[in-house]
């Protein structure tokens, strides 16, 4: 069935059942934060489902780490020859993904998918393999927080972009599951024994919750962001808005769409080693530094400008979408409370 109800109290059972055929990741506690961790299946503790924490508005780190890990070996080598190529193909389920993170995956699909230019076809086999083996069950946001602004950048607290199944927490404690893709439908079919059909009242509830959530998301002045950003490229407003930036990179690491990475070789000194990639950030001064010493973006304000321009001006042209998802993580995490909402709103405004 396209829509299914998982009654109150059966979520752990559902997560456990999915763990029979996939590694299931969901929001769990990690120290002082909530992050995606294994709750059932390979890699999870036997009582992993107990560590589920769905109360938080969003995880500290986005779901991108499941498909584009912070540290990912590309291949191993030995004595100047490639030995083994990493081939991630283990099935995985990402549960409890907020719609902003799911929509972010549609952007990353464009980045890591076939390159957009002419006959140069480059596909990232690592990301695409994980995506292919992955099923996303997103969880709509009944209570968006004050730093959320998905609706101002083309998203919605109950949006379905990038997800395979959309889940909604209903007032009666049950979970409404709606299949969005064929893959999502197949997942629901596989576990049909756990579900019942939704009543029309429950479906109405979902509509009501969704509309209320949409109204609760605070609007941000992101209209015409590209035009305003392009016009303001050389404006002094960048210095004024970003002078407190520490260049710490926290924003890019928690961001669900930031995808810059470094490639490096690590060896054990005995001829064996691994070539791997790891997250990098355009906020670091070394990011663009040439071997000659020339640095195209030597100042912090230029690097922060690059981040904002990339999300609001460049990717609308190259990928057909703003690549800020309005998840608000960068706003929450910035040690000096730099606020991308303020920056975007200020572009083009009279001083």
């Amino acid at each position: 069935m396209k829509e299914a109800i998982l009654s109150k109290g059966r979520l752990e059972e559902f997560l456990g059942a999915m763990g029979n055929t996939a590694a299931v990741y969901a929001p769990v506690e990690s120290g002082q934060n909530i992050v995606f961790g294994a709750v059932s299946g390979p890699g999870a503790a036997s009582d992993g489902v107990r560590s589920l924490r769905l109360g938080a508005s969003n995880t500290r780190l986005s779901v991108k780490g499941l498909f584009f890990p912070q540290r990912e070996p590309l291949f191993s080598f030995r004595d100047d020859a490639v030995k083994a190529v990493a081939e991630p193909k283990a099935p995985l389920v990402a549960f409890g993904v907020r719609p902003c993170d799911a929509m972010a995956l549609t952007f990353l699909d464009k980045v890591f998918g076939p390159a957009r230019v002419g006959s140069l076809k480059h596909e990232d086999p690592y990301y695409l393999a994980r995506r292919g083996a992955g099923t996303v069950i997103s969880l709509g946001c009944n209570k968006p927080c004050s730093t959320c602004f998905c609706t101002s950048v083309g998203g919605h607290p109950f949006g379905i972009a990038g997800t395979d199944v959309l889940a909604t927490e209903l007032p009666d404690g049950s979970l409404l599951l709606e299949a969005v893709t064929e893959k999502g439908q197949a997942l629901l079919d596989r576990h049909a024994g756990l579900f019942s059909a939704p009543s029309s009242a429950q479906l109405d509830d979902k509509g009501r919750i969704s509309r209320a959530a949409e109204a609760a998301v605070r609007p941000v002045h992101a209209a015409d962001a590209k035009a305003r950003a392009d016009a303001a490229f050389d404006s002094a407003v960048w210095e004024a808005l970003t002078s407190s930036c520490l260049g710490c990179g926290a924003c890019t690491f928690v961001c669900p769409t930031c995808h810059c990475f470094d490639i490096s070789d690590e060896t054990g000194g005995n001829g064996e080693g691994v070539r791997l990639r790891s997250w990098d950030s355009c906020q670091y001064p070394l990011f663009t530094a040439h071997a000659s010493g020339h640095n195209p973006r030597p100042a912090r304000r230029q690097r922060m400008r690059q981040r904002v321009m990339h999300k609001f001006s460049y990717t609308p042209e190259t990928a057909g979408m703003v690549s800020c998802m309005g998840c608000g993580r960068c706003v929450a995490v910035c040690p000096v409370n730099l606020d991308i909402r303020e920056i975007v709103a200020a572009l083009g405004a009279k001083p």
């Binding site: 190529v85 890591f112 990232d124 995808h259 810059c260 530094a289 460049y314």
Partner: protein, 279 residues
């Protein structure tokens, strides 16, 4: 799907020191597998990532022409980790190549045109590829007049001294090497590249200009070309930028809406003007 991160296995066949300073060497690389040699179809202007397992990769312009079959030539300046490792390598060493990458010079537009080449210093490498390609027997008639100005600080710093001698002797190309200041034993042109171009005053009619050099050379050459009547679309430049993946995924070479590795490294001056000056 092919894995674009996997280096193609090659072996260093020959190493030649190109300049007196000794910090630029040309490596002739042979493919370990014949099918890789056949599959590596490239055009002058493209680059590749040279891979040294255990050290890293370095994006280097391809100096050989596709008409020179069976091997690749790369001229590498010793600057950092990977290039130093390469410089310390002897023939027989196994390494890797990922490529070809980027867009080449606009050969569809160059068809039937006169070609003006303006270059300085180490940036001349991909122009060796371009000139060798155009001068090849089967190709020469596709192009009109070919004029090249190539400058270096001193005679010892000019790359590809043997090909240069051949080109200077050939009626098929007007090749003008120049050095910055007079030097004993040098009977050729003396003068900075932009000035030499101004003196030669090549016609802009039906001509495309390929300009590859250090930023300062480019900065002073562009106004000379514009004054000679070249349009911004007819001035072709090759950009350098910090790169890693070379295939438009890692974001490092991102300039405005473009990736230098994917949309470039070849851009027209008209295209560059629209980009933020972050390269």
């Amino acid at each position: 799907m092919t894995n674009p991160y996997l280096p193609i296995p090659v072996t260093i066949e020959e190493v030649t020191v190109e300049n007196d300073l000794g910090d630029i060497k040309t490596f002739r690389l042979g493919f370990d597998r014949p099918e890789d040699a056949e599959g590596f179809q490239y055009l002058p202007g493209q680059f590749a990532e040279l891979s040294v397992l255990g050290t890293g990769e370095s994006p280097i312009g391809i100096a050989s022409s596709p008409t020179e079959k069976g091997h690749l030539l790369f001229s590498v300046k010793r600057m950092g980790l990977v290039t130093s490792e390469l410089h310390a390598s002897a023939p027989g060493r196994k390494m890797g190549v990922r490529g070809p990458m980027g867009h080449p010079f606009p050969w569809d537009r160059l068809e039937g045109k006169n070609v003006l080449i303006v270059s300085g210093g180490f940036a001349f490498t991909t122009l060796r590829s371009a000139i060798t390609y155009m001068m090849h027997d089967g190709n020469r008639r596709r192009f009109g007049r070919i004029t090249a100005v190539y400058g270096a600080r001193e005679p010892g710093e000019l790359l590809y001294k043997d090909p240069i001698r051949q080109w200077q002797a050939s009626p098929q190309i007007t090749f003008v090497p120049t050095i910055d200041r007079p030097k004993d034993g040098w009977t050729g042109r003396v003068g900075l590249v932009p000035n030499v171009v101004k003196e030669l005053a090549p016609s802009a009619d039906g001509t495309l200009a390929l300009v590859c050099g250090p930023p300062i050379m480019i900065r002073f050459t562009i106004p000379v070309l514009l004054e000679l009547g070249f349009s911004k679309e007819d001035i072709i430049l090759s950009l350098e930028n910090r790169m890693k993946c070379g295939i438009g995924k890692c974001g490092r070479c991102n300039v405005g809406t473009r990736y230098v590795c994917l949309d470039g490294p070849v851009f027209t001056y008209a295209q560059l003007e629209k980009l933020p000056p972050e390269y």
